[in-house]
């Protein structure tokens, strides 16, 4: 038993990896980043057990997460540019031989490179801010779900940290599923609402479908590379990368090329891409801080992270990156069209999230992991800001989210910061010039035009950018500005999202149907919107400032590094395993503006493999252009113009001349489009399509199985039971119950036996 416990040792250095560069041990305090949320989780659990009714869990959580953020900052400051590994304890260690690939190792070890640190910076930073926001936002649930919320919140940060920092795919998978669980728990936070429970379930199951792809990808990775640790994988993949560089994709086994596709399926699930995106809009049933943190800023970017992390493998396939790009572009377009037709502002934000995630994937697929990462970071800030502003509105207007019932709330006292935050977020999202969103989006779209064969995607994205600007400012023009009008939401009738001033006599056991608790809110004119308090305002202001200042990232640069277009974030990515930028983009960055891009990258000696099927016929294809101009240079103007057009259209249709909350000029235009807006409003009936094409067939199959089990399988068993019964019934009459019959039978039996003996002894 002692040796059973003595395994609490640090992960062993793999002896079979002699050819690898020695492991650089990272700072051990990095483990604390994992530990701090766990401490917060334990604290919240204790609070839940002792039914603490104060805000202690929130502030403890904020403290823990802030500590984690500080540690990440420290990591950032101390980073060396090469990946380091910090060993935790052994989780999986299974060995069946001495050779390569005969050892399954997955430890709680952290792989710290600049990509990890980049992700952890905004994850922990945003988590801290949003926890602070939630401390006020969730105050209505003090004593009921408050501790639960923050426990799950901590668990989420822990899982996300595992996902991002793990040094192997299995630890990533742990975090992957862990964030899925937290997402499930937090979407279903208002568990009395059937729609919330349904949404939570949907999110978990949709994610599971992607997870199966990821799991298969992990299996395939192990089988082919003999390890699931990033370091070993990248090492083992080296020969294939060489082959890919030479354009010899036929030397790379099909199964190796399959790995990125499978991983991408996992990423599509987590990051809500076609065909697995339908869970994310429904996930807005959760409390708004959750939507902001998990379903906008961090968790949904896990898919992007996965692709970026495994970028070397994605480069091995001819099909994986085009697949990712097309899926991303189509998702971006589809979600934007749906978003234009929605009335629930949170849902609009959700679809915009799906759309923006599509941008990121398109960026990854368009050979711009740098641009994708840049967009992830900027998007994290402004989308969190937008969600939190929406949340503040929802909080203040008793759950009202319908943009037809809210108007001009900037005119209300105490809503200035919310309005400001909304404006900042909308500007960023719509790519208004010189906002951070503008830079990152430009970088993405520019790369698409640069990369040969990706131009259609660039056009789609450009078009979508216009749609984005339109639907973003549709919200802004209807809700924030215009004539003042508001109606309270239906949460007046429910206790689950309690307001500070209305909940003094709040009954813990109030049920959903209990609607006699809050007379003071009343209806219509009696309703007083409740302006956000200091915590929400602080966070909104901070995020607004951060979102605005994020554009500075474009101009900051890492010391001692060649400058790359896009600033510090792309430079961080370039330091990591995801280091790949379209050779054309790099070329542009060095050449500055001008009419470049017509020269082959080989001229500059940069790595120049183009892992797309499109480029296969000519591996040294020339960089694409945007109508003959250098995409990156032109894109500033083009996308700025597209953004302006979108905003202008929104301005005309939704602001000019609008006198009521419910109607705008746009409504008059709708009939011209025929049934299309209705279809868009119904999300193009994708949910229904899934329901009838997958759900119902499966349910029918399940029922058939159940019947089959009951009738056929159990029937066969019963038949086996029935055979002896039948035989018994058949010979039953022989048992007359009369003594003589038995005696006669006995005598006859004896006679027969004797006769047999007689025959046998007759020689």
């Amino acid at each position: 038993m002692t040796n059973l416990l003595s395994n609490f040792c640090l992960a062993s250095a793999a002896p079979g990896a002699a050819t690898l560069s020695p492991i650089l041990l990272g700072p051990s305090e990095a483990q604390l980043i994992l530990a701090l949320p766990i401490i917060g989780l334990l604290f919240c659990t204790l609070c839940a057990i002792f039914r603490v009714k104060s805000k202690a869990p929130a502030f403890f959580t904020v403290a823990c997460l802030a500590g984690a953020f500080a540690l990440v900052v420290r990591l950032y400051l101390n980073k060396t540019g090469t990946p380091v590994i910090t060993s935790g304890f052994e989780w999986f260690f299974l060995e069946w031989g001495d050779g390569k690939g005969q050892r399954l190792v997955a430890n709680f070890s952290l792989y710290l490179d600049s990509l990890t640190i980049l992700w952890m910076l905004f994850v922990t930073g945003l988590a801290t801010l949003i926890a602070l926001y939630a401390s006020e936002y969730m105050a209505g649930d003090l004593g009921t779900g408050y501790c639960r919320f923050f426990a799950a919140f901590n668990l989420f940060v822990f899982s996300m940290s595992c996902l991002v920092m793990g040094d192997n795919l299995l630890l990533l998978f742990l975090g992957w599923e862990g964030v899925g669980l937290c997402s499930y728990l937090l979407i279903g936070y208002f568990y009395k609402k059937p729609s919330a429970v349904e949404a939570a379930k949907k999110a978990f199951i949709m994610n599971r479908i992607g997870d199966l792809g990821l799991l298969m990808g992990i299996g395939l990775t192990f089988v082919h590379f003999g390890s699931i640790e990033y370091r070993d994988i990248f090492h083992a993949a080296q020969p294939y990368i060489e082959a890919a560089k030479a354009g010899k994709y036929n030397e790379i086994p099909f199964l190796v090329q399959l790995i990125p596709v499978l991983l991408a399926i996992g990423a599509f699930g987590k990051s809500a891409q076609i065909p697995l995106y339908v869970w994310l809009p429904d996930a807005m049933e959760g409390p708004t801080p959750v939507s902001a943190l998990i379903h906008a800023a961090t968790m949904v970017t896990a898919g992007v992270y996965l692709v970026a992390r495994m970028y070397p493998l994605f480069l091995l396939s001819e099909y994986a990156l085009p697949l990712v790009a097309w899926v991303g572009a189509l998702t971006a377009l589809l979600a934007a069209t749906i978003g234009m037709a929605q009335f629930d502002i949170k849902r609009i934000m959700a679809y915009s999230t799906v759309s923006q995630l599509g941008y990121m994937f398109a960026g990854l697929g368009g050979l711009s992991s740098t641009g994708a990462a840049f967009h992830v970071v900027t998007h994290a800030f402004f989308k969190a800001l937008l969600f939190l502003a929406c949340g503040a509105i929802m909080h203040g207007f008793a759950g009202q989210l319908d943009l037809r019932k809210l108007s001009g709330i900037r005119r209300l006292k105490g809503w200035g910061i919310v309005s400001f935050g909304m404006l900042v977020g909308c500007l960023n999202l719509s790519g208004f010039p010189f906002t951070s969103g503008f830079f990152s989006k430009d970088m993405l779209i520019g790369s698409e035009f640069l990369t040969p064969g990706m131009a259609p995607i660039g056009w789609i994205l450009l078009f979508t950018a216009g749609l984005t600007a339109y639907y973003t400012f549709r919200v802004f023009f209807r809700v924030i500005v215009g004539p003042l009008h508001y109606e309270p939401g239906d949460e007046l009738h429910s206790a689950h999202d309690e307001h500070g001033h209305g909940g003094e006599n709040h009954n813990e056991h109030a049920h959903v149907q209990d609607d006699h608790q809050h007379h003071d809110h009343g209806h219509g004119g009696h309703f007083h919107p409740h302006a956000p308090g200091w915590a929400i305002n602080t966070v909104l202001l901070t995020l607004s400032v951060l979102s605005l200042s994020a554009s500075a990232l474009n101009f900051l640069h890492l010391p001692n590094q060649p400058h790359i277009e896009g600033g510090i974030v792309p430079e961080l990515v370039m330091e990591s395993s995801a280091a790949y930028e379209s050779p054309y983009a790099r070329h542009e960055a060095h050449e500055g503006t001008g009419d470049g891009g017509h020269e082959g990258p080989d001229a500059h000696g940069t790595p120049s493999y183009v892992p797309t099927a499109i480029a296969l016929d000519d591996p040294h294809a020339h960089a694409g252009t945007f109508l003959g101009w250098n995409p990156h240079a032109v894109m500033f103007y083009v996308s700025g113009a597209v953004g302006f057009i979108g905003i202008f259209v929104a301005f005309v249709l939704h602001y000019v001349g609008r006198t009521t909350a419910a109607t705008a000029k746009a409504d008059a235009l709708l009939p011209m489009l025929g049934p299309i807006p209705g279809w868009a409003q119904h999300k193009w009936y994708v949910d229904e399509f899934y329901k009838y094409s997958i759900y119902w067939p499966l349910i029918i199959l399940a029922n058939l199985c159940n019947l089959f089990d009951k009738l056929i399988i159990d029937g066969i068993v019963r038949l086996f039971g029935a055979i002896p019964r039948w035989i018994g019934n058949t010979i039953r009459p022989t048992q007359s119950g009369e003594l003589h019959g038995y005696a006669a039978g006995m005598a006859a039996g004896v006679a027969v036996l004797l006769f047999i003996v007689f025959i046998l002894t007759l020689r």
Binding site: H740, A744, A747, A748, V750, A751, L754, F755, V757, F758, T761
Partner: protein
């Protein structure tokens, strides 16, 4: 093969016996020629016995008493048995059964199984059959005045006599075919090895010796550490120790034999002591069971009640008819 009786003759006899027994069985209408049947059955039995006697060559040797008694007892036993199964009145059947037991006991005596013979008579004829008689008397409807000799249906009417008789005699035929594969003489009692038991009984030897005045005064039969006397069976000598302590061999008395009772006793108590205990327990349990059963109060059946009422009504009607 050395058959004691020609199989064909045996089967013929069996068939004959079957016919006889079948006829001898009681029939309700009384038309059954019971006497004829009994005679036929006896004839069949006699044929077989005769044939066997002829083959053995002992039937004619009347001087040989065991064989004579064997035939007498055998005939009585079979005849009585036949009556047991054919007599319509249970009491008579039981009495014939006693007769059959007595005849069997006689056969046992011929087989030198005296103990069994007497045990059979005492236990069976004396105890068990008396119980039967009691029960027969208990469990018989009280006869009415007119129908003093009336018999119950189930006594007068045999059940499927032909089939049953055929089955029984087929069984007998098969059985005897197997048994009569050859003649085997019975060995003498002397070869029984029972004499070896003599050593087990030093006191008896001592008594017999002193009765025959072969034992010097003060002398004892030597008892070895197995608690046995040292007997030399071949020379019929036993070791004794005189008062002075010397040991010597003396002849056993000529009439000193191990009796059948002793042999059975040794066999039972030395070889099967556990079985004896178990048999005792069985008897005890049977006694308890009988007590428990007979103490039980039973309600008369609805059917039986109805039947009784009908009988009463019939009797009453008869009574009305006869005694106006």
């Amino acid at each position: 093969m050395d058959q004691i009786i020609n199989p064909l003759a045996l089967y013929a006899a069996c068939g004959l016996g079957a016919v006889g027994v079948c006829l001898a069985l009681p029939r309700k209408d009384g038309k059954n020629p019971q006497i004829v049947g009994a005679l036929i059955a006896s004839l069949a039995g006699a044929i077989v016995l005769l044939a066997m006697g002829l083959k053995a060559g002992g039937l004619l040797g009347f001087g040989n008493s065991p064989s004579v008694y064997f035939y007498i007892f055998g005939a009585v036993a079979l005849g009585a048995s036949l009556r047991v199964i054919t007599h319509p009145r249970p009491v008579y059947a039981a009495l014939y059964f006693v007769l059959s037991i007595l005849a069997t006991a006689g056969l046992f005596l011929i087989l030198s199984a005296e103990f069994m013979a007497f045990a059979l008579v005492i236990v069976y004829a004396g105890a068990i059959l008396i119980t039967y008689l009691f029960v027969i008397m208990l469990a018989t409807q009280a006869p009415t005045e007119e129908l003093e000799n009336a018999l119950a249906d189930y006594d007068t009417q045999a059940r499927e006599p032909i089939v049953a008789t055929a089955a029984g005699f087929i069984l007998l035929a098969v059985l005897t075919t197997l048994l009569f594969r050859g003649t085997v003489d019975l060995p003498s009692m002397k070869s029984s090895g029972g004499e070896a038991l003599m050593a087990e009984m030093p006191r008896r030897i001592e008594t017999a010796l002193s009765n025959a005045n072969k034992l010097p005064s003060g002398a004892h039969v030597v008892i070895n550490d197995r608690n046995q006397a040292n007997v030399d069976f071949a020379a019929r000598k036993v070791e004794i120790r005189t008062a002075s302590g010397e040991t010597s061999l003396v002849d056993l008395p000529a009439d000193l034999h191990v009796t059948n009772v002793e042999m059975v006793g040794f066999n039972l108590l030395r070889d099967h002591p556990g079985s004896i205990e178990i048999a005792g327990v069985i008897l005890l349990m049977a006694m308890l069971g009988a007590v428990v059963l007979s103490r039980r109060q039973v309600q008369i059946d609805e059917d039986a009640k109805e039947r009784r009422a009908q009988n009463l009504a019939a009797e009453l009607a008869q009574g009305v008819e006869t005694n106006p």
